[in-house]
């Protein structure tokens, strides 16, 4: 206040009585905020504006926003100044009833958000250490978001660290800041996937779980609800975040949270009617279970992975606990049941585990499993305690059994619906479970006590007994259990010939005082009965007690019976003939169809559809009413066109459309005096698939149909034969393929053998070749040796020859010498007689030799001459050659 008056006085100044013009004042203050150099002056001016900002919102907004934004950009030193600036701006953008014009605060907000750097500045400020700055900055963002959510988010996304700063606030020890931040994040994550992802990137999941744990989990305050809501926003419709949630082991944290039991305070008495659950507990658990269901919503790609993880980490057990505890509020029980349904739906493994789950009723000692089923212990006092029963049966009893005395059927309604949803989830896409339930249609012999009987029954016989229970005296809401039983029963029979056969063999022990009525017939009587009750009441006119159906409303129970009969009899001539054994029934159908009440299009449509199915499949030889009779009824009493019209109307009805939308959420909602008609998806699918065929059959005469049937019988038998053939063939081919297999195996062995032989053979060959080679090489060696030997021989020979030649030369030389000597001595020596001739020969030789010698000399002289000549030539050519002897 001190600041305020100082600032104000600074302007108002001297004349205290002088009333200043607000326009001028605000202008002056704005100028000061801009221009002052002293921080005190600025502060005073801002405070002045703040004081005026409520009263003169429009004027201040017009003049002061730019200078105020400027202050934030430029003054980072003075926390007080920043704080008051933020507060002033917040005043300008806060919506007020008296705003004139109405969108004044939005106009201001737009001015602020559109400033280029302001939002990133505010994001910086929420990281400021000062509490008031942080708080006011956060508040400003909240206010801006309320006015201009999308624009603000686009500005926040531009700041790379902007979103991360919010996450930092989640660990702020000051709860006001933290909570404010969670609030803002909840708003921001409602639609924007980018914000959702960045928050997750910044580790928001972990921080939220920390807060939730710190606050005491589901038992905590509204903060837990807010955190769970933020968690929900981050995950819903964001598969990337769901993946992150799973990969960072967050799913594993959920079972711990679901395991919640409210603290038992001494205030609440001991009566089970007084619940320890507080309103906030319910809210927290509600959001938590919404998250669980979202992660396993049907049809999602990741659902089966998530289902498995939840199962593995023990999610089912605490959920069952919630579902079965009578002190848990109905909404939570219902949600828990639906959650289990979603976790096991279409997941064979989980369905199987559910089937094996046993529930032990509470007893004095601690029983390990899921504790109690108070309903049972209350409803059936005779039941021995601590008997273990299959969970499926216990849940089915929730859906169609007797309600606990202390609860009204109205408040139990949600539990019934959800339990039925769980049972259907269990049976859906699970043929084994269906057959095992159908196998128990016929109950084992039991004693007479009806109430006790119910708790001992198996699931199948429980269904049968509920469907066939007497209708008199039931209120509409009480009849819902019959409705559920019939709905589950329809699901069992849908497209399942085995179950249909089992159901055909089933009979009701006592129905309307007659023993052993076949179930199918009993159902047809139930349909008649349910409608009669209604007729009586409308005939009795304005019964003050709203019962089955009031005037003009559809009879939901009768419709459900007829739907079940449609599903049962389609494609099943035996069932049709069994149904027609109740002659009353066809008249009943005719009555409904011809009833001229235009409001009951659904009932008459379903009846028309059933009539069409009966007409189409009434081909069994044992049928009670021949097709010609039916044709008479069709053509004379109903009128073919009338019937077709009813069918078309049904097909176009809103109820059928609804059946194709979300299968649970519109299952049934209760209003005061009537239950709306809701179709199971099994019936709706049947109608869609089959209606055209039914219509075309209705246009045919009995003769044509008979022919068709004959044909189809023929076809059937031929098809049977064919299929038998095919079977045989398959078997044969199986055999032959086995034969083929062994044959081919044989062939292969043979091949291998042959190959082996070949290999052996070629091995031998190779061996032979190699020995051959060896031999050859040996031969070659021999050859080489012999060649060597030859060569040596030759060598010796030549040497010998050479020596011989040498010795001959020596001989000749010596001979020559001696003859020379002789020739020299010749004249003087005496030659004996023959010596003359010898001498003559020698003389001749000698003369020959002399001639040779002369020749040689001549040659030598020539040679010399030539040499000389060459020498001269060389000398002339410049070669120096020493003079030779001969030249001297």
């Amino acid at each position: 206040m001190d600041f305020f008056s100082r600032g104000y006085n600074a302007l108002v100044g001297e004349g205290k009585n002088y009333q200043q013009d607000p326009v001028q004042t605000i202008q002056k203050l704005s100028d000061r905020v801009y221009a002052s150099t002293l921080i005190e002056d600025k502060r005073a001016a801002v405070l002045g504006l703040k004081g005026l900002s409520r009263e003169y919102k429009q004027l201040v907004g017009k003049e002061a926003i730019p200078p105020l934004l400027n202050v934030l950009q430029e003054e980072s030193e003075d926390p007080n100044l920043i704080k008051s600036t933020l507060e002033t701006l917040n005043n300008l953008i806060a919506f007020d009833q008296n705003d004139e014009p109405r969108d004044l605060s939005t106009i201001h907000a737009r001015k602020i958000v559109e400033n280029d750097s302001h939002i990133s500045k505010v994001l910086e400020l929420i990281g400021d250490q000062d509490f008031y700055i942080r708080y006011n900055a956060l508040q400003q963002l909240t206010l801006l978001f309320a006015q201009l959510s999308e624009l603000l988010i686009s500005k926040i996304l531009v700041s790379p660290t902007g979103v991360g700063r919010f996450v930092d606030l989640l660990v702020d020890p000051r709860e006001i800041i933290r909570n404010e931040c969670v609030q803002l994040l909840i708003l921001m994550t409602e639609k924007n996937a980018e914000i959702q992802k960045i928050l997750v990137f910044e580790n928001t999941f972990e921080k939220l779980f920390n807060i939730i744990t710190d606050e005491g989990g589901v038992g905590g305050n509204i903060m837990v609800q807010d955190c769970l809501q933020l968690l929900y926003n981050l995950l819903a419709f964001n598969t990337s975040n769901q993946k992150y949630f799973r990969e960072t082991s967050c799913i594993q944290k959920l079972p711990e949270l679901v395991k919640f039991e409210p603290p038992q305070t001494e205030l609440a008495g001991y009566s089970p009617e007084v619940s320890f659950w507080k309103e906030q507990h319910i809210e927290n658990m509600f959001v938590l279970l919404k998250i669980v269901r979202m992660l396993v919503q049907p049809e999602n790609v990741d659902t089966s992975v998530n289902q498995t993880i939840m199962q593995q980490y023990g999610m089912i057990s605490p959920l069952l606990q919630l579902s079965l505890s009578i002190e848990v509020p109905s909404t939570i029980r219902g949600l828990a049941l639906c959650s289990i349904g979603d976790i096991i739906q279409s997941n064979l493994q989980n369905q199987f585990l559910f089937q094996r789950t046993l529930i032990t009723a509470q007893s004095e000692e601690e029983v390990e499993q899921f504790e109690h089923n108070q309903i049972d212990t209350d409803a059936s006092k005779g039941l021995k305690k601590s008997v273990s029963e299959p969970a499926a049966l216990v849940i089915a009893r929730l859906a169609i059994g007797i309600r606990p005395f202390e609860m009204s059927e109205e408040s139990y309604f949600v539990v019934r619906n959800s339990a039925a949803y769980l049972i259907k989830s269990f049976l859906k896409d699970n043929p084994d479970a269906r057959i095992s339930v159908a196998a128990t249609f016929t109950p084992p012999p039991i004693d007479e006590s009806v109430e006790d009987a119910e708790s001992i029954l198996s699931l199948g016989s429980l269904l049968v007994s509920i469907m066939a229970m007497p209708l008199e005296g039931l209120t509409q809401i009480e009849a819902i259990r019959i409705w559920h039983a019939t709905s589950i029963f329809s699901l069992l029979l849908c497209d399942d010939d085995v179950c249909k056969k089992l159901a055909l063999k089933t009979s009701v022990e006592s129905y309307n005082d007659s023993p052993d009525v076949p179930l199918l017939v009993a159902l047809s009587f139930q349909a008649i009965q349910s409608l009669k009750l209604w007729n009586v009441e409308s005939g009795a006119n304005k019964s003050p007690v709203p019962s089955f159906s009031s005037e003009g409303k559809e009879n939901f129970l009768c419709i459900q019976f007829l739907c079940a009969l449609c599903i049962w009899t389609v494609n099943s001539p035996e069932s049709v003939s069994a149904l027609l054994s109740n002659k009353e029934f066809i008249l009943f159908l005719t009555e409904i169809i011809t009833e001229p009440n235009p409001k009951k299009t659904v009932l008459s449509g379903v009846a028309a559809f059933l009539f069409g199915i009966i007409y189409e499949f009434n081909s069994s030889s044992s049928t009670n009413i021949k097709i010609d009779e039916l044709y008479l009824i069709l053509s004379k009493r109903i009128g073919i066109d009338n019937l077709l019209l009813r069918l078309t109307k049904l097909n176009d009805s809103q109820e059928i459309h609804n059946a194709f939308s979300n299968s649970f959420d519109n299952l049934i909602f209760l209003n005061n005096d009537s239950v709306p008609v809701v179709f199971d998806s099994s019936f709706a699918n049947l109608l869609r698939d089959h209606i055209n065929q039914t219509k075309s059959f209705l246009k045919k005469t009995p003769d044509m149909i008979k022919k068709l049937h004959e044909n189809s019988k023929l076809n059937g038998t031929s098809q049977n034969l064919k299929s038998q053939n095919a079977d045989q063939n398959a078997k044969n081919s199986g055999r032959s393929s086995k034969g083929q297999e062994s044959e081919s195996a044989g062939k292969e062995t043979e091949k291998l053998k042959a190959m082996n032989e070949e290999l052996l053979f070629s091995l031998d060959k190779l061996k032979i070749v190699s020995t051959q080679h060896q031999k050859e090489s040996e031969e070659l060696k021999l050859q080489v040796d012999s060649i060597n030997a030859q060569w040596e021989e030759k060598f010796f020979l030549l040497q010998n020859e050479l020596q011989f030649a040498k010795s001959r030369i020596l001989e000749l030389e010596s001979l020559l010498e001696s003859s020379n000597e002789r020739a020299l001595d010749g004249p003087r020596s005496d030659f004996p007689g023959d010596g003359n001739s010898e001498v003559l020969a020698l003389e001749e030789k000698f003369s020959a030799l002399e001639m040779e010698h002369d020749d040689l000399l001549a040659l030598l002289a020539d040679q010399d001459a030539q040499c000389k000549e060459y020498r001269n030539m060389l000398r002339q050519l410049g070669q120096e050659i020493p003079p030779s002897d001969s030249e001297d």
Partner: protein
């Protein structure tokens, strides 16, 4: 860290690698920049990683563009420790750039991917790198990846150029093919190993929330159902 080895440093990061062969997709895609962040990863030592899918092995010839940011996870083994990578695949288109900037803070590593058959993607690397450097921690490991190495015939950026760019900027470099899965695992391993090293030698302080690293821990309170695998013994720390 030895005996209490149920707690292992975990790390992670990366980015999913993908290639887009669809010409339209190529046109629209400015650049494949992928960043990976290892963030807060958690690994359970000994937890069987085989159950994890391998996001980067799933190559689809006509890949749809990344819109904004998509999350993926991947288990790796380094020195016998299981490490779970959190991979944030960020869109490479310019229009998403302001959003993808928010994913640098707290990332332990980044994979910067270009397409070797498109020169423009290489030319834009500098701007992306600048973004990454500006908004991430100084010790964030960045690896440069030339993708589509199977399309040698259409190559527009030489391997040496990529290597040179990496050297100049102090990045790891590797060429990969998302189509044939060639080197893809190596790229992630290399990144993770480098981060692991930084943790071991203390460069990265794992107790800092913004390091992007988180120790693995064993979840307490598991309820074991009949079919469940044996409970992992809970180690205290």
């Amino acid at each position: 860290m030895n005996s209490a080895c149920d707690y292992e440093p975990l790390k992670a990061c990366l980015e999913k690698n993908k290639g887009s062969r669809d010409p339209n997709a190529c046109k629209a895609e400015w650049e494949q920049f992928r960043k990976l962040c290892s963030e807060r990863k958690k690994t359970l030592a000994q937890k069987n990683p085989s159950a994890e899918c391998e996001p980067y092995r799933r190559f689809q010839p006509a890949h749809d563009l990344t819109i904004g940011v998509e999350f993926g996870a991947q288990m790796l083994q380094i020195n016998g420790k299981s490490i779970k990578l959190q991979i944030w695949d960020t869109a490479g288109q310019e229009s998403f750039r302001s959003i993808t900037r928010s994913y640098y803070r707290g990332a332990a590593g980044a994979l910067l991917v270009y397409d070797i058959t498109r020169r423009d993607t290489f030319d834009h690397l500098a701007t992306w790198l600048e973004d990454a450097r500006k908004h991430s921690n100084s010790d964030t490991t960045i690896i440069l990846i030339g993708n589509k190495s199977d399309l040698e015939a259409k190559r527009a950026v030489a391997k040496e150029e990529g290597q040179a760019f990496a050297n100049d900027n102090g990045l790891f470099f590797i060429e990969t093919s998302a189509k044939t899965a060639d080197n893809v695992e190596e790229a992630f391993l290399k990144t993770a190993e480098n981060i692991y090293e930084k943790i071991q030698n203390g460069t990265i302080n794992i107790s800092n929330d913004s390091s992007g690293i988180k120790l693995g821990q064993i979840e307490p309170g598991r309820v074991s159902m009949p079919e469940d695998e044996p409970e992992i013994s809970n180690s205290c720390c």
